[in-house]
């Protein structure tokens, strides 16, 4: 029940926000997101560390198709839910003035769509019925589409369309696999979409591989991986930073989330069969993302590409099939969420001031706006995996796991760290340091609201950097279970 | 018996080709009628072959339908003909894009 509330609350919020007059809209929207945050926390408190699906609720939805309205959270789901409920209010606050540009109407629809997106994402993270998952998975696209197309910089319409086409394509391919699962279960005599039922099936080799391909392509597009990542950079470039945060830090997680939930959970054999390819793709994404990022001139584009590299790490962690890797990957998902959000938001504020996203056109910000520069630096270092900031932990775990898997893989991954440090620092140097250029008005420093927005993220980075224990406690049982499903049973993650 | 079927097939083909090649709406339309009558021939022939009346009854109904088609077809062709003073199918070109 609580989960249903968790989903319905922001949905309701979206509707209300869309209806109330513009002036009120932002407050109402913020209020609803805050309430959702509270509910999320409640969910977290209700959750017991034992692992497995908890707080489940199941109702028949479409009988003749064996579809259920089934919700539940396990460790992974919980973390994602928390990430979502935390980030959304921050995004709303960040977008407080930005959406002003569109007038109150713009602000209203921005808030409404965001809340809708939140609701859908929460549903995605808590769905335990494949079709329900698919439905909300696709449903997230509509608000995202209007967020991208409705707000941001010129040419966003094209970007939005590109985004939607990519996602829909992936989704439809996945639909084939979903139906495939259904048919398999029907042939087994009990047509159902419940993950629990489906996990019980033993699916023959070839079918499993086909289904896996379907799922994996969809998730690979979602969490951009090397061949199918091109929508990411365009989107982050055109959309407002708030939207980018929602996309990269929440929506894209659905990809990796799905890999864990479905590829490993339902199709273990096929997952192992596919491992070599996936790992290679992951490595390519890591290196490619980092390399391309270095050359970028547009800040937002750059950040977008860095997260391509990061997602490479996550996928790598997932597919090396070791407790360390799994744990690292999931931890990485959280940390990346926080760090990238920080980066985007700071960049957003910066652009809001300079009026341009082009690195070439800004310099010497740190003199006039030290605080901003500070946040920017931290964000960058976090992305680069500086020890003491949370991403470091997860990155280390993944790399260790990679070395266990194969020394070559590990070394390539390590190479990525160097590149990361390079692009992060070079970007900082190009934008913040140096003589401020003539004719460009000195940048105003962050005001109290903005600091207030960024502070919690910064805290989280530092906190989890030194004390990731609470996260690990939630993660490990899940990793253990899912690896057990794959057939790798050895105990425990790093303590 | 078969020669009747063959004949009907030939008639049908003629009508078919006529529809595809001729350009005057009325001629096309007559070709269609030819096709229908070929069908009638086939029906009656088969009816005789199988020794039951279904085919002949069908021929009756086909006649009715053909008549209805004639009426409606002529109506449509007349209107368009009066509008653009030509019954050529090619002249009806507004819908080619």
């Amino acid at each position: 029940m609580i989960l249903t509330i968790l989903i319905l609350l922001p949905l309701l919020g979206a509707v209300v926000t869309a209806l109330v007059p513009g002036a009120l809209a932002r407050l109402v929207g913020l209020g609803f997101s805050a309430a959702t945050l509270v509910v999320g926390v409640v969910v977290a408190t209700r959750y017991s560390l034992g692992g497995g699906m908890q707080l489940t609720e199941t109702r028949t939805w479409i009988e003749s198709l064996g579809v259920h309205y089934a919700l539940g959270v396990d460790g992974l789901g919980l973390l994602m839910v928390l990430l979502t409920v935390v980030l959304v209010p921050i995004v709303l606050l960040a977008g407080w003035n930005e959406s002003e540009a569109e007038g109150n109407n713009g602000a209203r629809s921005f808030f409404a769509w965001t809340l809708a997106l939140e609701a859908m994402s929460l549903a995605v993270f808590t769905a335990t019925d494949v079709l329900l998952f698919y439905v909300v998975f696709e449903a997230t696209l509509i608000p995202a589409y209007f967020l991208i197309g409705g707000f941001g910089r010129a040419g966003r319409g094209r970007a939005a369309t590109k985004f939607l086409i990519y996602q829909l394509a992936g989704g439809l391919i996945m639909l084939a696999s979903v139906i495939g699962l259904y048919v398999v279960s029907a042939d087994a005599g009990n047509p159902s979409f419940l993950i629990s039922d489906l996990a019980a099936l033993d699916i023959d080799e070839t079918t499993q591989r086909w289904l896996f391909v379907g799922f994996f392509i969809a998730f690979a597009i979602k969490a951009p991986m090397f061949p199918v990542h091109t929508w990411l950079a365009d989107t982050t470039e055109k959309a407002t930073t708030g939207t980018s945060v929602l996309l990269v830090c929440i929506l894209d997680k659905i990809g990796t989330f799905g890999m864990l939930r479905f590829c490993l959970g339902l199709l273990p054999d096929a997952s192992q069969w596919a491992t070599p390819v996936v790992v290679v793709l992951a490595l390519i994404s890591i290196i490619y993302g980092a390399l391309v990022a270095i050359g970028q001139d547009d800040v937002l584009r750059l950040i977008g590409l860095t997260s391509l590299s990061h997602f490479g790490f996550i996928v790598l962690g997932i597919f090396v099939f070791s407790p360390t890797g799994g744990t690292g990957a999931i931890l990485y998902m959280v940390n990346h969420g926080i760090a990238t959000a920080l980066m985007f938001l700071v960049a957003g504020f910066l652009i809001h001031r300079t009026g341009t996203a082009s690195i070439r056109e800004m310099a010497g910000v740190e003199k006039s706006a030290p605080v901003l520069a500070g946040f920017f630096l931290v964000g960058g270092l976090a992305a680069a995996g500086l020890p003491g900031l949370s991403p470091f932990v997860s990155e280390m775990l993944v790399i260790v796991a990679a070395f266990d898997h194969h020394w070559l893989v590990g070394s390539v991954a390590v190479l990525a760290i160097v590149l990361a440090a390079f692009y992060a620092l070079w970007m900082y140097q190009r934008t913040m340091t140096g003589p401020d250029r003539p004719g460009v008005a000195p940048v105003v420093d962050l005001d109290r609201r903005e600091v207030g927005i960024l502070a919690p993220l910064l805290l989280a980075l530092v906190l989890f950097g030194f004390y990731p224990m609470p996260l690990l406690d939630v993660i490990n049982p899940f990793v253990h279970d899912s690896l057990a499903a794959v057939g790798i049973g050895q105990e425990g993650g790093p303590q | 018996m078969t020669q009747y079927i063959v004949l009907s097939a030939i008639l049908f083909t003629i009508g078919c080709v006529g529809v595809l090649t001729r350009r005057n709406a009325i001629v096309v339309f007559m070709c269609v009628e030819l096709m229908l009558n070929a069908c009638n021939l086939a029906f009656v022939a088969f009816a005789r072959q199988h020794g039951n009346l279904d085919g002949q009854i069908t021929a009756f109904f086909v006649m009715v339908v053909a008549a209805a088609e004639v009426v409606i077809g002529l109506a449509i062709i007349m209107t368009i003909f009066r509008t653009r003073r030509s019954a050529s199918v090619d002249d009806a070109s507004l819908l080619k894009y």
Partner: protein, 530 residues
């Protein structure tokens, strides 16, 4: 001379049919005897009342029908086995009647074009002549459209219920002929609409010729018009198989033409574009429903034993339809043509469901059957289409409806509601979850996959991706493009059109979120009487 045996006529089960026919005739009488001023209201009321009455009849019959002899299907064979009143028939009857009620509402709409309906004041008058202007001045309109439409409805009900070749042919014609006329009656762009009528008529008559010859050959093969008898003949493999094969092919031509499947789709865009928008809406929805009912009955009942010979053909045609439809739709610049091509693509999807037929033994308990899937898809498609065309009728400029897509730019700002509704219908057609279209696709894909037609399903998925692009492009134009010139204006409809659109939205949403009841209904409809 054979002794005459009086056929029994099951008046109760045929009630809906008889009512519709009676209403149509009554409409003609009204035309003949009522003064001009009275006709419009009387006709509208008559048509609505009659169709509603028939709908009630369908419900009553549906509650009453018993299982047929062997128990596989429910229903009866009426009028000496020529009309099968079974589950699918009743479902389709209900659907057609509901759609046609919506159609009547659209026909009766008078607010959009300054107090006159969308139909020509005087079809016989040459455009631009005094007669034309006179008829416009006299504010005249063809109230014949209502009887004509009801006749078409009668055909749409007879066509899928026909249980022998002759009745099916007659139904086909009764359904087609009024539509030929209706599509030529547009008030604006007369020539366009007349040409549409001409093309529709010529091609339609052509295809029905094929249908008939195919019927003749099948009759020659089986020696009987009756579907059951043909099925027997096929099973026992009497007669020459070449007759059977050619006959099947030719009949398929006729039927596939009606649903506008590739390669018989040529007429679709022209007619959809040329015909008056209300007619297009009614035709697009109703014809497809009825024709697919007939297709299923022919293939499942008459040729069920011969599945292996027609399934491959359907595979190819389905794949072609989906791809050609989607691909050509992208190139269109006119919204009605675009919807037409998308309907071709949808034909492909529905065919995917049709070819997903399995012997009922192979179905797991609770697994969805192909009839069920197709019926459901038809329901979703019908309402989405009629709603979408209703919306198309709203967007206008000085010269009537603006169907050029680029003139739709900025509709999102001009009238968020209309744009939103249209976007919703488009998403439904694209098969986005939480709309009816998604569940429909899901259903047909799963039956096709279950029947082992995975290549078709894969093709279908790819085609839907192309189609998705198409619909999203329109949405993008409406919301994110800058309007050219004055931009479109939205005519505010009377309650009639408003109701239609509202119903369309409601059904599309409900079938998307809670498809359960309708799916169960389709399941209850069960199998054809074999």
């Amino acid at each position: 001379m054979t002794e005459f045996v009086k056929p029994s006529i099951e008046y109760f089960e045929l009630w809906p049919l008889l009512v519709v026919f009676g209403v149509a005739c009554l409409g003609v009488v009204v035309e003949a005897f009522l003064p001009r001023t009275l006709r419009y209201p009387v006709q509208v009321v008559l048509a609505l009342g009659g169709l509603a009455l028939a709908l009630v009849g369908v419900v009553l019959v549906a509650q009453d029908v018993q299982t047929y002899e062997d128990g596989a299907a429910r229903g009866i064979l009426a009028v000496g086995g020529t009309i099968a009143v079974d589950g699918p028939s009743l479902f389709i009857w209900g659907l057609v009647l509901a759609l046609s009620i919506a159609g009547v509402l659209l026909f009766a709409e008078r607010h959009l074009d300054g107090g006159v309906s969308a139909f020509a004041g005087q079809a016989a008058a040459v455009p631009g002549t005094d007669a034309e202007t006179a008829s416009i001045a006299a504010n005249r309109e063809h109230t014949e459209v209502y009887p004509l439409m009801v006749f078409a409805v009668f055909g749409m009900m007879l066509f899928p219920a026909a249980n022998d070749l002759l009745t099916m042919f007659v139904g086909l014609e009764i359904l087609s002929l009024p539509l030929y006329l209706l599509s030529g009656l547009a008030r604006r762009r007369r020539l366009l609409s007349q040409e549409a009528a001409l093309k529709y008529f010529l091609l339609g008559a052509f295809s029905s010729g094929f249908f008939l010859y195919g019927a003749a050959l099948l009759y020659g093969f089986a020696g009987s018009m009756d579907f059951a008898a043909i099925n027997e003949a096929v099973r026992n493999d009497v007669g020459s198989s070449s007759l059977l094969l050619i006959g099947t092919g030719l009949m398929s031509v006729g039927l596939l033409f009606k649903v506008g499947a590739v390669p018989f789709q040529a007429w679709t865009p022209d007619v959809y574009q040329g015909a008056p928008t209300p007619v297009t809406a009614f035709m697009a929805a109703g014809t497809k429903v009825a024709a697919f009912g007939a297709i299923m009955r022919l293939y499942y009942v008459a040729l069920g034993a011969d599945r292996w010979s027609w399934q491959p053909m359907l595979w190819i045609i389905a794949i072609l339809s989906m791809f050609v439809g989607a691909a050509l739709a992208i190139t269109q610049s006119d919204i009605k043509r675009l919807l037409a091509y998308s309907s071709v693509a949808h034909t492909g999807f529905i065919l995917t469901g049709v070819l997903g037929v399995q012997a009922s033994g192979q179905l797991a308990t609770g697994e969805i059957s192909s009839v069920q899937a197709v019926l459901f898809y038809l329901a979703t498609y019908g309402f989405a289409t009629i709603g979408a065309f209703a919306v198309v009728g709203l967007v206008r400029d000085g010269g009537g409806e603006t169907t050029a897509i680029d003139r739709w730019a900025g509709l999102g700002k001009e009238s968020p509601v209309v744009a939103g509704v249209f976007a919703f219908f488009l998403l439904a057609m694209a098969g986005i979850p939480l709309t009816s279209g998604f569940v429909g696709k899901l259903a047909v894909f799963s039956v096709a996959l279950a029947a082992g037609a995975w290549p078709v399903v894969v093709a279908a998925v790819l085609a839907s991706i192309i189609a998705a692009f198409l619909y999203i492009r329109v949405i993008k134009v409406m919301y994110f493009d800058e309007p050219v010139g004055a931009g479109p204006s939205v005519a505010y409809p009377s309650v009639l059109t408003a109701t239609t659109i509202a119903v369309g939205v409601a059904v599309t949403l409900v079938l998307g979120v809670l498809p359960g009841p309708v799916l169960d209904l389709a399941a209850v409809a069960g199998e054809f009487i074999r």
